[in-house]
Symmetry: C2
């Protein structure tokens, strides 16, 4: 399948949009996604892998954690417009960003 079509299929699911929105802020590990979106580990992992297979994300293993970050090249830059002009105007995605902030604060205290 074409890269563009892969990307669009990857974007046609709300959980994956929410994940993408978070990763536009910063690189995150699976547990950050789980905690922020309040979804199960299996669900977070599955959707992250789906996004990675669509070449929207890349991953990096460090110790027992896997960190995911954006890997969006010029051929699909419409996604920037999608996130900044459309997603972020919606309450759900704004709330997710706030929850991410809160989680990272709590996490810093607890862990590394």
């Amino acid at each position: 399948m074409g890269k563009l079509l892969d990307a669009l299929k990857a974007l046609s699911d709300e959980t994956r949009l929410r994940i993408l929105n978070l990763l536009y802020e910063k690189e995150l590990c699976v547990c950050d996604i789980m905690e922020t979106l309040q979804i199960s580990q299996a669900k977070a992992s599955r959707h992250l892998i789906y996004l990675k297979n669509a070449e929207l994300l890349k991953d990096r293993k460090h110790a027992q954690w896997v960190y995911y970050s954006l890997a969006i090249d010029e051929r699909i830059k419409f996604i920037d417009s999608l996130v900044y002009d459309n997603l972020r105007g919606l309450e759900l995605y704004q709330n997710d960003l706030q929850n991410l902030k809160d989680w990272l604060k709590r996490k810093t205290i607890k862990c590394d």
Copy 2:
């Protein structure tokens, strides 16, 4: 479901992307789509209706024909970027536009 998500699901299919690309040129009836993309009538109709339900298209009935055209509002303007910056760089979609031109020329001679 949210309007944005509906739009993205509608965009996650190659036939519908090809249809959208054509309609960025001008309003077309179902038979224009069939001829240009060389797809069955049922397939053209189904996908047009899917796009209409996602509120990306509107239709207008005139005599026995149904004309479809874009209905893309500000809340999903990333689609402009998708079509102009991404789709139209791909050979398939360029060829479709050429086929549309050819078909409309033939059609004018034959019909109205």
